[in-house]
Amino acid sequence: MSKIEVCGLNVYYEKGTVHALKEVNLEIETNKITALIGPSGCGKTTFIRALNRMNEVNDVMTKGKVFIDGVEIYNRGVDVINLRKKVGMVFQQPNPFPMSIYDNVAYGPRIHGTRNKKLDTIVEESLKKAALWDEVHDRLEKNALKFSGGQQQRLCIARALAVNPEIILFDEPCSALDPISTARVEDLLRALKKDYTIVIVTHNMQQAARVSDFTAFFLLGEMIEYGKTTQIFEKPRDKRTEDYVTGRFG
């Protein structure tokens, strides 16, 4: 069974006047990296935010079903808090809290009840998983905002890892980073997929090609084509996919 199954997903903005996602059907495989590509405004960010119900933070109407491990997440009985612990998110702009590195990573677990020694362990493990421990382990009390963009983004990844998710959603995580930081984050993604299911939105096709196992192409709110990354970039089935991937339009 796929980790995430999306059936007939429709999302509307502005009190129903803007149809942002149209009948999207997609399956996300467990412990793989799935990339979502497409031109600006095609709905990929809207889609990814539907997976952890972050769309509800704005004025958004969602119709259709999203199953995670077989459970329909838009059901009335579903606890959004728990859902978001299970499905983490890393945003486009690094957004660490204006606190120390330690407090940033400990934020989630602390609120969920963890204390002291266990907290220290979680912080260390998360920072190690995010490939940031070596750089900051002697400066954990320093304010997060004093670090570089690449380090801040990896901190945000560590922070997301600290609440022990199963799925991590990345919304253009490298678009604000320089090439070296980008390469580090991409290496990190490849390492993480062993233990987590990863969905990444990117407008950088080469990144999608480098990093992902599966790719889905979105256009004007529709999911046009989905398949193995090698297939999408070597011989796409749909002409629109080919036009986008070859840069005929974008």
């Binding site: 859902l83 978001r84 957004n95 320093k142 304010n143």
Partner: protein, 280 residues
């Protein structure tokens, strides 16, 4: 033209200097005329026979009034601000609510004092007391606490909220742990502004708290309480002796000093908090 630039710069500089000069002149005048009376005795004694004695109850009274005032205005203000900024949707009702709060800021303090007199003192039968005075002052500074808190909360980047929510933290917890923490400097500024207005407010206190000449400390919040501004008013209008004259300025000096101390203290607190957020 370069000359024009220089002239403009010069003119602006003169304006700035004049502003500073006004402050210095006022404070200087008060200082010069009041310093003679200031002594430890003066500060620790109670007034007797109108224009003699010290201003101890007045000092304590002012402090108590501001305390009660803040006890009301700060929670009310911050809570309202949180509701308006975080929970309320942007519709006619909330916009009207905000407008009303703004209007409250424009009501002359004498009118607020009158309201306090009619409603708190007579209707609720609290009488002329610390509670009436404190509450009335609270009404007066409420717009400032609400406005400053709301601004501060709105300035917190939306990305912090999103990041917190995405970690599986509830909305209220997010507000408590991230938004308010970041907004504290702004909120404290609002409190500071309110305190400044409250401590020097005469009309409201005159009508609700006491005559200003009390020589005793209030034993409960239902007792009348003295305050520095009203004392100054009394001394200035009803005192005809040189003792009264100099006490007017002495009390003014003390009031200014208190205000300065509070301001500096709150500023240091705020700075320490900003730095604190980067440690631990």
């Amino acid at each position: 033209m370069k000359v024009k630039e220089e002239l403009v710069k010069g003119g602006l500089c003169v304006a700035a200097l004049l502003s500073v000069a006004v402050l210095l002149i006022v404070v200087g005048y008060v200082f010069v005329n009041g310093i003679g009376v200031i002594s430890l005795n003066f500060l620790l004694e109670s007034p007797y026979r109108f224009e003699y004695g010290g201003i101890f109850p007045q000092i304590i009274g002012s402090i108590c009034l501001v305390a009660i005032c803040l006890l009301f205005a700060v929670p009310m203000g911050v809570a309202s601000a949180i509701y308006l900024a975080e929970y309320a949707s942007d519709n006619v009702i909330t916009r009207t609510a905000r407008f009303f709060v703004e209007c409250l800021a424009g009501i002359p303090s004498i009118v607020i004092g009158l309201f306090g007199l009619v409603f708190l003192v007579y209707y609720l039968d609290l009488g002329i007391c610390l509670l009436s005075g404190g509450l009335a002052l609270g009404f007066m500074i409420l717009p400032w606490t609400v406005r400053a808190s709301e601004e501060a909360i709105k300035t917190v980047p939306h990305t912090y909220r999103e990041a917190s929510l995405a970690l599986g933290v509830s909305k209220w917890r997010t507000i408590r742990s991230v938004v308010l923490k970041s907004a504290y400097p702004g909120i404290i500024t609002g409190i500071l502004l309110g305190m400044g207005k409250a401590i020097g407010e005469t009309a409201v206190v005159l009508l609700t708290a006491g005559s200003g000449l009390e020589s005793f400390l209030p034993k409960s919040i239902f007792d009348p309480v003295a305050s520095l501004p009203v004392y100054i008013y009394m001394m200035a209008t009803q005192g005809h002796t040189s003792a009264a004259y100099s006490r007017t300025f002495a009390a003014s000096l003390v009031l200014i000093m208190m205000f300065l101390v509070i301001s500096v203290f709150a500023l240091l607190l705020r700075n320490r908090y900003i730095r604190h957020m980067g440690r631990r």
